[in-house]
Symmetry: D3
Subunit: 69 residues, 6 copies
């Protein structure tokens, strides 16, 4: 399966907070570096996402902004 | 300045491809790990983004999906 | 700090509704003109966003559509 | 026609830059306040968007971030 | 009213799940084919979206990724 | 491979327009019903997307708005 999304960053699920519609998934991608994702509760349930899971954070290139200090 | 965007990943600009309206910015965030961003050409010009720049890739949590193999 | 996001519209927080994962922030940008933002509850807590705060609504240009009547 | 998008900001098209796939539309929403949109060239052609047009910038609430100085 | 959003897919609301801030709307666009939308609870209330409604799912072209198996 | 994105709509590539940075991919999902995607030129090249390909259009639920006439 090939995905057009340019960004696929591997990491480990650290925390999952579930709401009524959405859920927040915290993924540790490097020691001390986390990526936070908000997806539907339905996807968390369907994919059985839980702390410790090896996953990849996927981001479309158009969703990435740049900050320069 | 505080930003609501949850994801701010530091890296170094590796490559910039400029089109008529948009531009693609490749940011190396770890050895061999790249994040690709598409922003407007205007922002690349205004921020003078070029290879070697220290920047941060910024992503809203809602734009992050999860892939589980 | 320079941001690639092209749209930064100043306003005053009028209302905050907090859910379990997300929160809705209503920003008055001109008399009678409001911009509504949905961000994570975590960001509202971390940034201590509350009615009366002077903030800016930030939007990436690719997220803006055009309607012509 | 009712739209779920929460943000519909009226303004006047000030500038249109057309690329091969996308186009950038600058909308003046108040004196000195502009909102920039990137849509497809196809939409600019189909809607005949040109400087001087009265339009509305439409943004889904989830695409709005908050900046607090 | 002309919309720059390139994707407008007609369907019938099948299910609505309401949270504190967001709501999930399931739209059946063809027999057995559903499109899921997450919008604010406020929009569901304001538009009185309920099962059986004829609606259209609207998606900006930049939000569509491609998967090739 | 499990994807959190809720919307995966099968179709056939009908047309590809390539720019300097982005490309527009038109996918026919039903007779007369098209979904338009804008992804990077790089992804079109890497995935060798061309007319006739069987693909799926992928959309995160948060990117779907609702229109009610």
């Amino acid at each position: 399966m090939k995905l057009s999304a340019r960004n696929l960053i591997p990491g480990k699920v650290k925390d999952v907070t579930v709401g009524l519609v959405n859920a927040e998934v915290v993924i540790e991608v490097a020691p001390g570096v986390e990526i936070v994702s908000v997806i539907t509760k339905n996807s968390v349930d369907r994919m059985e996402i839980k702390p410790g899971d090896e996953v990849r954070a996927m981001v479309k290139a158009t969703s990435v902004m740049v900050v320069k200090d």
